[in-house]
Subunit: 248 residues, 2 copies
Amino acid sequence: MVDERVMGDPRSGRPAPDAAASVRDESLPDVLSTNAPHPAVDIRAILFTVADGALLVALGEHDPGWGLPRGEPSPLDTLDVAARRIVREGTGLQEQYLEQLYTLSVRDAPDWTIIVGYMALVCSGQAPPPPLAGLWHDVTALPQLSHADQMVIDYALVRLRAKLGYTNIAFHLLPQTFTLSELQGAYETILSRRLDKRNFRRRVIASGILFPTSEKRRDGSHRPAVLYRFRADDDHETYLTPPWAEGA
Amino acid sequence: MVDERVMGDPRSGRPAPDAAASVRDESLPDVLSTNAPHPAVDIRAILFTVADGALLVALGEHDPGWGLPRGEPSPLDTLDVAARRIVREGTGLQEQYLEQLYTLSVRDAPDWTIIVGYMALVCSGQAPPPPLAGLWHDVTALPQLSHADQMVIDYALVRLRAKLGYTNIAFHLLPQTFTLSELQGAYETILSRRLDKRNFRRRVIASGILFPTSEKRRDGSHRPAVLYRFRADDDHETYLTPPWAEGA
DNA sequence: GCAAAAGTGTTGTGTATACACCCATGG
DNA sequence: CCATGGGTGTATACACAACACTTTTGC
């Protein structure tokens, strides 16, 4: 079932001096009849969403079992555009955010494939079209997946969690208007950790990236919540934020 | 000269909704005789070093002008391993650090290529073997390069500068033992900004990632400097460091 | 003894955390 | 009137930035 041989680990930035050796010992040639053509290039996209307290991943039915949406790039498109197409085709959904993750080389039986991993986010509000029920799987209880798919998912999780801290990425998981509690809930779900309400609100308000609408939401026997909306701009602005900016 | 059409920008994490359209209008098919085979996959590596106050990039002579070291991956190797090989072959140097940057799809005349960008670092001490003089170019005064090469360089710079802040990446640019002033100099060169000596030393000492040797270096008519060495471990440990870790 | 880089502390300011109660509503 | 989530402020600890002088050596 897990038959792909995955090479390379996105998390390590070290030489890992003997990786070559350990790979070379494995089952021998097939593809590499020396003048083998180019490898296949395969895009795999992991689409996340958050729904009532769970972080969900979109999977499709594959050869045996489940797998991430995948597809080939086209010479006419950016990889990003191709990835977006693949997400749409594989899930019927239009993602709000897309980010390339990592590229790795996989040798599976006789085939050689370069896998380009992507992460996408959709807001929880978006109703999955009927034919695609059974699409969403809780990330904490996934079925058995290929090694490559699993790797993409693991890495996507690391990136997503890390980016919660220093970007506005979570916004793409929410509908246009939302309450602060909903936003906090998304953070908590992804980090699987509870956050302090007052600190959370202070930070997010102070950051200035969202502003209150005049509407409120009444959805229970309690005080209605103010609905907020994002400022369209600061988005990829707020991305890289190196510390020690000593001089002005 | 700059004839490659580069698609996709590593910095943007946004959908850029109409990228497809803008690309589609351009000069038409060639490669995409529909069942065109797979694209070529091309690794480009940018090798940085720091030498007396300048951040240097290794370039080789190419078709017309200069270019980054490049080469094809092999089915037997990790992309990382292939990139390391390409750095060695293209520069004669053994890098200390290697990191994948970004993958993009490029359509250049009739050819379609997937370019996987890599960044590598070597320590300044490493003497360039004679045949490869004229290898190093100051990053602030580079010759005309292909669009794709330029993109890899720009992005590598962003990543390198950002990572100075939250990782130990700079260590890989220095020889095994070095003075604190040398370390600070490397930071200043890369950031092109002066740093406060006392704050810098306090931080780097407090971080615990390096420890003093018993040797000193006398290299002028002034007080000799203590030589430091890195702790081999915390390296890829210190990588992703998400903020607001509220709970313990 | 002087030039030149190495080395060393304190203080203020901002940012993150911990923590508990009142408010508005529906039933 | 009560249960439910919405909303608010303060005190403390830590991290970062600004800043100037003494030490050791070679010549």
